[in-house]
C-alpha cells in the first residue's frame, strides 16, 4: 500500500511537470491516471481492512507530518481519484481553446490540486492537514483566476480566497484549541481524549469547525464565493471544485464532528440540521432564477451540500438521543448523497463546458435544440439532470430516499419536539425536491430541446470523444448507483458505523442496519426490486413502441401557433420559465424591475421599451454588504492614525513600549 501511495504521489507530481511543460501532451493524462489508480488502490485496500501510517519527521518533535488512511477517507480518495482521472481526460481536450500560457497553468495546477485534496484525506495530524488544506485552497485559487485579465475573474478569485481563508483561520483556531487541551497533534489521540473535555471547549471547537468547513462546503450564509468562483474557472476545474472539493469539506465535517468530537449537546445537531435545511431550500431557489448555466449549477451545489448536511444534522441529533441506528442511516444517507452529487455535478459541469466549447455559450436563453446537435453531451446532460433532481431510477433518488428514511425515523422514535423537527425536515426536503425538478427541467428543456434561440446554438457541433466519453461514463455511473444501491450502501454502512463508534456486536453492521428498517425482508437495497419493476415496465412499453413501427411513419408538421407562424424567439425562455416561481416565492427573491418606455410625438407611439428585472440576493445585500461597509468605514477611521507625522509615530512607539512594560513584566 505504501508503494501504491508513493506511485500516486510521484505520478501526480510528474503529471504537474508534464502539464506545465507540454500542456497538450497525453503523458500528463497518463500520469494522472497512474496516480489516481495508485491512490485508488490504497483506498480499496483500506476499505478491505488494511491500515497504514506514515510519519515524516520535519523538525521539532510533534511537528512531524503524519499521513494514514481510514475507511472514511478511503471513500473520498476514491471519489477524488476517479473523478480526477475523468476530468483530466476531458481537460486535455477542453483547454485547447485557451492560450498556450494559460494551458500550462491549468494543466500544471490540476494534478497538484488533485494531490492536495488526496493529502487532506490522508492527513493524520494537524500539520499535515493544514498544509494540505492550504495547498488545496491555493491551487484551486490559481485555477479559478485562469482568465486573470478579466476584472470580474480577479474579483471572484479574491472573494474565494478571502472566504476560504476565513474558514482556514477558524479551522486552525479549532485545531490549536484541541492541541492545547489534549497535548497532542494527532487526530487519533484527539478521538480518544475528546469525550473527556469540557463541554464549553468542545462547543467552541464545534462552532469553529462548522464555520471552517461550512465556508469550504458553501453552506448558506457562507456560500457567497461559490456562485462567483465556479462560473469563471475552466469547466473541468469547476467540476472538480464543485464535485470533489466540496466533498473534501464534507469529509472534514464527518471526520471532526463525528469521529473526533463524538456526541455533543442537542443544539449541535439542531444547528447543523437547520443550516442544511436553509441551504437546501435557498440554494435551489437561487438556482432556479439563474440563466447562466454554470452559476445555476453552482447554486445547485449549495442545495445538494444542504441535503448532505441535513443527513449530518439528523445523525448528530440521533447520536445525542441515543438512537444509533437512526444515526447510522442518516450518516449513510449523507455519505451516499455526497458520492451521488459528486458524480452528477461533475457530469453537469463537464457538459456545461462542452456546450460552451461547442459555441453555445453559457446563457440558457440563447440555447435550444442542442440535443439533436450534440447527442452524447445532451443525452448525458439530461441523465445527470434527472440524477440531480433525485428522480428514480437514478442515484440521487436513492440518497434522498435514505435522507427521508433518516428524518422519518427520527420523527418516529424521538420525543415530540424532535419529531416535529423531523416532520418539518421531510416537508422542506419534499419542497426542495419539487423545486430542483423544476430547475433542471429548465436546464434540460430550454437548453437541449425545442429550437435554437441563437446562431451559436444553431451551429454547435458535438465535442470530441475525449470530452463526451467521460461524461457518458459518469451518466452511466449515476444510473448504475441508482439501480444497484446495495453495492455502495454496504461499504458506506461500515464506514458510518466506524465514524459513529458503533459496534455491530460481531455481526456485520450492514446486517444490523437492514434489520432495523421495519417491513421485513430485504432493506437498504429495497429499491432494487423497484428498479426491476421500472425496467420491466419499460421493456413492455418498448415492445408496444416496436409494434407501432408497422404503422405509417409519423409526419413532421409545423407546430400549432394559432394559425400563424412563430419563430424560435416565441418559445419560453429560461427567464420566462422561472417567472411564476419569482412571483410565488417573491418574499425570498424580493424581485426588482424597471420598465422604461420611450415614445415619439405622442405617448401612443412607442419607439423603445427597456425592461430590466432581477432579484435581490438577501445575504449579499443585507448580510455581507453592511459588514463590508462597516469594515471600510473602520478602515477610514483607522487611516486617521496614519497621519505621516514622524513625531506622532515616535509617540506611538513610546506608548507601545510603556504598555508592554506594564503588561509583560
Amino acid at each position: 500500500m505504501i508503494l501504491a501511495g508513493l506511485v500516486g504521489l510521484v505520478s501526480y507530481v510528474l503529471a504537474a511537470c508534464w502539464g506545465a511543460l507540454r500542456p497538450g501532451g497525453r503523458w500528463g493524462v497518463w500520469a494522472v491516471a497512474t496516480g489516481g489508480l495508485g491512490f485508488a488502490a490504497v483506498a480499496v485496500g483500506a476499505l478491505a481492512g488494511a491500515r497504514v501510517q506514515v510519519w515524516l519527521r520535519l523538525g521539532p518533535p510533534g511537528f512531524d507530518l503524519r499521513f494514514g488512511i481510514t475507511p472514511l477517507a478511503a471513500v473520498f480518495v476514491l471519489l477524488i481519484s476517479g473523478l480526477g482521472i475523468l476530468a483530466s481526460v476531458y481537460g486535455r481536450a477542453y483547454v485547447a481553446h485557451l492560450s498556450p500560457e494559460k494551458q500550462r497553468g491549468v494543466q500544471g495546477f490540476v494534478p497538484l490540486f488533485l494531490l492536495s485534496m488526496t493529502l487532506v484525506a490522508f492527513a493524520g495530524n494537524v500539520v499535515a492537514f493544514l498544509v494540505a488544506w492550504e495547498a488545496m485552497s491555493l491551487t484551486s485559487y490559481a485555477l479559478v483566476v485562469t482568465d486573470r485579465e478579466r476584472p470580474e475573474v480577479v474579483r471572484a478569485g479574491y472573494v474565494y480566497l478571502l472566504m476560504t481563508h476565513i474558514g482556514a483561520v477558524c479551522l486552525t483556531a479549532a485545531m490549536l484549541l484541541l492541541t492545547n487541551a489534549t497535548g497532542s497533534m494527532a487526530f487519533a489521540e484527539w478521538a480518544k481524549a475528546a469525550p473527556t473535555l469540557a463541554v464549553g471547549l468542545r462547543s467552541a471547537v464545534f462552532l469553529l469547525m462548522l464555520l471552517g468547513f461550512g465556508s469550504k462546503a458553501a453552506l448558506v450564509p457562507l456560500h457567497v464565493w461559490l456562485p462567483r468562483a465556479h462560473p469563471v474557472a475552466p469547466s473541468h476545474v469547476s467540476a472538480l471544485m464543485s464535485g470533489v472539493m466540496l466533498k473534501v469539506a464534507v469529509y472534514g465535517m464527518v471526520l471532526f464532528l463525528f469521529q473526533v468530537l463524538g456526541p455533543g449537546p442537542l443544539w449541535w445537531g439542531l444547528t447543523v440540521l437547520g443550516l442544511g435545511l436553509v441551504s437546501a431550500l435557498l440554494g435551489v431557489l437561487y438556482a432556479l432564477m439563474e440563466r447562466d448555466l454554470k452559476r445555476l449549477l453552482a447554486y445547485s451545489s449549495v442545495e445538494n451540500i444542504g441535503v448532505v448536511t441535513i443527513g449530518l444534522g439528523v445523525a448528530l441529533i440521533a447520536q445525542q438521543a441515543r438512537l444509533p441506528v437512526v444515526a447510522a442511516v442518516a450518516l449513510v444517507a449523507a455519505l451516499y448523497h455526497a458520492v451521488n452529487h459528486a458524480i452528477a455535478k461533475t457530469a453537469l459541469f463537464l457538459d456545461a463546458g462542452a456546450l460552451q466549447f461547442a459555441g453555445a455559450g453559457r446563457n440558457l436563453d440563447a440555447m435550444g435544440g442542442l440535443l439533436t446537435r450534440l447527442p452524447w453531451t445532451g443525452g448525458s446532460l439530461l441523465a445527470a439532470s434527472a440524477a440531480i433532481a433525485a428522480l428514480p431510477p437514478f442515484n440521487g433518488f436513492v440518497s434522498e430516499w435514505l435522507t427521508y428514511q433518516a428524518l422519518v425515523r427520527l420523527a418516529g422514535r424521538a420525543g415530540v419536539g424532535l419529531a416535529l423537527a423531523g416532520l418539518i425536515g421531510v416537508l422542506v426536503l419534499a419542497l426542495t425536491a419539487g423545486l430542483v425538478a423544476a430547475c433542471f427541467l429548465k436546464v434540460g428543456g430550454v437548453a437541449l430541446l425545442g429550437r435554437p434561440r441563437s446562431g451559436g446554438a444553431a451551429q454547435a457541433e458535438e465535442v470530441p470523444a475525449a470530452m463526451h466519453v467521460p461524461v457518458v461514463i459518469l451518466a452511466g455511473l449515476a444510473l448504475a448507483l441508482g439501480l444497484l444501491p446495495g453495492l455502495v450502501v454496504g461499504p458506506l454502512a461500515a464506514v458510518a458505523a466506524a465514524a459513529l463508534h458503533l459496534d455491530g456486536g460481531g455481526t456485520p453492521w450492514t446486517h444490523v442496519l437492514s434489520l432495523a428498517l421495519p417491513w421485513g425482508g430485504v432493506h437498504l437495497a429495497a429499491l432494487a426490486p423497484a428498479a426491476f419493476a421500472l425496467v420491466s415496465a419499460l421493456a413492455i412499453l418498448a415492445a408496444v413502441a416496436v409494434g407501432r413501427r408497422a404503422r405509417p411513419a409519423p409526419q413532421v408538421r409545423d407546430p400549432w401557433a394559432c394559425g400563424g407562424q412563430i419563430g424560435p424567439e416565441g418559445q419560453y425562455s429560461a427567464t420566462a420559465y422561472a417567472k411564476p416561481f419569482r412571483q410565488v416565492f417573491g418574499a425570498v427573491y424580493r424581485p426588482v424591475r424597471s420598465v422604461r418606455v420611450r415614445t415619439a410625438v405622442h405617448p401612443f407611439f412607442l419607439t423603445q421599451v427597456e425592461y430590466e428585472g432581477g432579484i435581490t440576493h438577501v445575504f449579499d445585500r443585507y448580510g455581507y454588504g453592511p459588514l463590508l461597509a462597516a469594515f471600510v468605514s473602520l478602515a477610514r477611521w483607522g487611516r486617521g492614525l496614519q497621519s505621516g507625522s514622524l513625531r506622532l509615530y515616535l509617540g506611538y512607539l513610546l506608548i507601545t513600549l510603556v504598555l508592554l512594560l506594564v503588561f509583560v513584566r
Partner: protein, 310 residues
C-alpha cells in the same frame, strides 16, 4: 408464481379500469351541469379512435418528444407496482414504498414537461412552466398526506404506513384532516378544476393540456391513458393512506376484499367529480395558498398524531 400472477393481474386491471373511472367522472360532471353527457364507455371509444389516427410531430422536436408517451405510461405502470392495490403488491420480496411512488409520479411529470418544452412553441413552454410550479407545491402536500403515519411508524413502506393507520390512537381526527387535505391534493395532482381545467384549450387557463397540445393520434392516446391511470393511482393512494379499511376490509372474506377496494376507488372518484363541479377555477397565483392549506392541514394532523402517541 401465484404472487406474480396477482401482481400482473392487478396492474392490468387498473390499466383497464382507468378509462372507466374517467368516464364516470365525466358523466357525473355532465349531470351536475344539467347536460346529458357521453356514455360511461366513451373514453375507451376515444382512445380507440385516436389509436387509428395519423401521428404528427412538430418540426424541430427531438426523440424526447417521440419517446415520452411510452415512457410516462411505463413509469406509471411501475408506480402501480409500488402501491397496494387489490392485493398487497408485487414484485415479491418487496411491498412498495411511498417515497418511491411519489418519485415515480415526479418522474412522469418531468418527462411530460420536457416533451412540452420540446415542441418549441409558446404553449408547450407555458404548460411546462405552470406545471412545474404546481408540481413543486403539490409534492410537499402529497408527502404531507402520509406524514402522520410516517411519524407513527417511523418508516415509509406501505405496509408500515397502513399498519400505523389501522392502529393509530387519534386516527379519527387525523383521517378527517387528512381527507380534507387529500381532496385538494387529488384535485391538483389530477389537474382538475380549482387548479387546472381538463375540458378547455383556452391558453389563459390550461396547464396540463398545453403540454400535450402537439400530440396526436396514437401518441395522444398513450398520454391520455397515462393521465387516466395516474388519476386512478392517486385515488388508490388516498384510499390506502386515509380510509380505515385501506386496501380492503379485513373482516370480509378475502374473496370479497377486492370488491370493496374497487367500490372505494369509484366512490372517491365520484367525490372528486362532485368537488370539481362545486368549485370555480382559481387564479394561478392563488394556488400556493390553496395547496399550502392542504400541507398545513396534514402537518396539523401529524402533530396531533405525534402528540397523542407519545
Amino acid at each position: 408464481m401465484a404472487v406474480w400472477a396477482q401482481a400482473l393481474a392487478q396492474t392490468a386491471l387498473v390499466l383497464v379500469l382507468a378509462p372507466l373511472v374517467q368516464g364516470m367522472l365525466q358523466r357525473i360532471k355532465a349531470v351536475a351541469q344539467h347536460r346529458h353527457g357521453p356514455g360511461l364507455l366513451q373514453p375507451y371509444f376515444t382512445l380507440a379512435k385516436l389509436w387509428r389516427r395519423q401521428d404528427l410531430r412538430p418540426r424541430g422536436s427531438s426523440w424526447v418528444f417521440a419517446a415520452t408517451p411510452c415512457f410516462v405510461l411505463a413509469v406509471l405502470l411501475a408506480a402501480s407496482a409500488a402501491l397496494p392495490l387489490l392485493w398487497t403488491p408485487a414484485p415479491p420480496g418487496w411491498s412498495g414504498d411511498f417515497v418511491f411512488f411519489v418519485g415515480l409520479l415526479a418522474l412522469e411529470r418531468f418527462a411530460l414537461s420536457l416533451a412540452g418544452l420540446d415542441t418549441g412553441t409558446p404553449f408547450g413552454g407555458l404548460g411546462s412552466s405552470r406545471d412545474a410550479v404546481v408540481a413543486a407545491l403539490v409534492e410537499p402536500a402529497l408527502f404531507a398526506l402520509a406524514l402522520p403515519w410516517m411519524a407513527a411508524a417511523g418508516g415509509t413502506g406501505w405496509p408500515a404506513l397502513m399498519a400505523a393507520s389501522a392502529s393509530a390512537p387519534a386516527a379519527g381526527v387525523v383521517r378527517f384532516f387528512g381527507l380534507a387535505a387529500a381532496l385538494i391534493v387529488a384535485l391538483a395532482e389530477t389537474g382538475r378544476v380549482p387548479v387546472d381545467n381538463p375540458d378547455t384549450h383556452l391558453e389563459l387557463t390550461m396547464i396540463h393540456e398545453a403540454m400535450l397540445l402537439e400530440y396526436s393520434g396514437p401518441q395522444l392516446a398513450l398520454v391520455s391513458l397515462a393521465q387516466m391511470l395516474k388519476q386512478l393511482l392517486v385515488l388508490a393512494a388516498v384510499a390506502d393512506l386515509l380510509l380505515p379499511w385501506g386496501a380492503g376490509w379485513t373482516v370480509l372474506p378475502a374473496v370479497l376484499r377486492p370488491l370493496t377496494v374497487l367500490g372505494t376507488w369509484f366512490g372517491l372518484g365520484a367525490g372528486l367529480a362532485v368537488a370539481e363541479s362545486l368549485s370555480a377555477k382559481l387564479r394561478f397565483f392563488r394556488l400556493p395558498a390553496y395547496v399550502g392549506a392542504a400541507t398545513a392541514l396534514s402537518l396539523a394532523a401529524a402533530v396531533l398524531e405525534v402528540w397523542g402517541g407519545r
